[in-house]
């Protein structure tokens, strides 16, 4: 390490190799991935996020929802993601193909949202999501700032929340979701991984034996 320039070149090359291996390597593998065309359905999956939903993802990102919610389901037998009804198959790279900024997240202090719009038996309704965002719950903060408290001019807005009790607005006023709330809810309802890609299917049964052995380690 007495040779100064050589030392710096060594440092640089070490990092360049690691970056190429991890980042460029996965980019080479996944950067040109295409949607999967289902011959039977005659449709390509995943669908592009359109309009409100795509803008809603930016709201999701800037509020930092990813600090408590993940958007990645692990495969059956790995953790308990299926048992919690978060999705029946594992998430694969293709699911995120058209997302401008995938929100994989790293904490599950709140539930996973990958398949919120495809929940069984019923996904949450628009109305329920608005109420949840406005009122919060004992485990979730209320985001009242996404809503507008407006005077009722003429008819009550069709989007106005039907609230009762302490959270109800004063008479003659209504709580209407603002633009950010509307895009966020459109995004959340659009989240689903209902379609089954070939690479997302579980391994055939005879290969499952070593998986158990691995889990014990």
């Amino acid at each position: 390490m007495k040779n100064g320039p050589l030392f710096l070149v060594g440092l640089f090359l070490s990092v360049l190799i690691a970056w190429s291996g991890i980042v460029l390597g996965s980019h080479a593998q996944l950067g040109r991935q295409t949607p999967f065309f289902d011959e039977g359905d005659g449709v390509a999956y995943p669908a592009r996020q359109m309009g409100l939903a795509a803008r809603g993802q930016l709201v999701y990102a800037d509020l930092g929802c990813a600090s408590c919610h993940t958007q990645q389901v692990r495969r059956p037998g790995f953790g308990n993601d299926q048992g919690r009804g978060w999705g029946e198959r594992q998430s694969v790279a293709r699911d995120y193909l058209f997302q401008t900024r995938p929100q994989l997240g790293a904490s599950r202090f709140g539930p996973d949202l990958t398949n919120l719009g495809g929940r069984k038996p019923q996904p949450p309704t628009e109305e329920a999501l608005y109420r949840f965002l406005y009122e919060g719950s004992p485990t979730h903060p209320p985001y009242a700032f996404l809503f507008e408290n407006l005077p009722i001019a003429g008819e009550v807005s069709s989007l106005a929340l039907k609230l009762s009790g302490t959270s109800a607005p004063a008479s003659g006023r209504q709580i209407v979701p603002g633009e950010r709330a509307r895009t966020l809810v459109a995004y959340l309802r659009n989240l689903n991984t209902v379609y089954d890609y070939p690479e997302s299917r579980p391994l055939p049964v005879e290969q499952k034996a070593p998986a158990k052995e691995e889990a014990k380690k």
Binding site: R75, R89, V92, K120, V194, D196, E199, R201, V205, P210
Partner: protein
């Protein structure tokens, strides 16, 4: 001002000077004051440990890297074979369950209990437990008019779901959903073959929805 000024006698005096520090450690690296840069070999025990770690890492990588394939997400998985995109082993029960959820559950309900008076139950139905040929044809052509299931009369119209219909399910999916329904509610474990669905489809072509009378002609 550049002379070492402002020294406070209370500042803790380091036992070694920088010079002594560098000298003593230089020696440990096997450098004579003006030697070429070369490292003494690692102590034997460290070398041994290092090799052990490399051996473990190499073995682990070889075993669980999924052949470095972009579409292998399970470390025990195999990359799909070239040109065999369709031949990827699919569990028909999983596929069937999904298709059931997307297509059938709206009328027959997720639990297969149906919704009288129009939508007959599948759970415990003698039709589900009965002839495979009939079931395939119901899915391919649809079913119209009254039908008796579990002793109750139902009257509805089931649209066709097979290729060319509004749902446009391919033979693989038709077979999968039947496999799922028969396993789940008919107690029949033998899967329905996609080839058989395709064969019946080719033989019958398209036709108007069946009635119970048509069904009874089918073995």
């Amino acid at each position: 001002m550049s002379a070492p000024t402002g020294s406070d006698p209370r500042v803790e005096q380091a036992p070694v000077t920088d010079e002594a520090l560098l000298d003593s450690h230089d020696k440990l690296l096997g450098r004579q004051p003006d030697d070429k840069a070369h490292y003494r070999l690692l102590p034997l025990n460290l070398l041994f440990l290092f090799s052990g770690l490399i051996f473990f890492a190499g073995t682990y990588l070889g075993r669980y890297a999924g052949h470095f394939h972009p579409s292998v997400f399970n470390e025990h998985g195999q990359p799909p074979k070239a040109g065999a995109a369709v031949a990827v082993a699919v569990d028909p029960l999983v596929l069937g369950k999904n298709v059931y959820g997307q297509v059938c559950a709206a009328c027959h309900q997720p639990n297969g209990q149906g919704l009288p008076p129009a939508f007959p139950p599948l759970a415990g139905s003698e039709w589900v437990a009965g002839s495979e040929e009939r079931l395939i044809r119901i899915l391919l052509h649809g079913l119209q008019g009254p039908i008796k299931v579990k002793g109750t009369e139902f009257n509805g119209a089931m649209p066709p779901v097979g290729p060319g219909s509004g749902f446009n399910l391919n033979p693989e999916k038709v077979a999968a959903v039947l496999t799922f329904v028969r396993k789940e509610w008919g107690g029949i474990a033998t899967p329905v073959a996609a080839a058989k669905v395709a064969e019946i489809r080719a033989k019958d072509g398209t036709r108007p929805p069946l009635t119970v009378a048509d069904l009874e002609k089918i073995p």
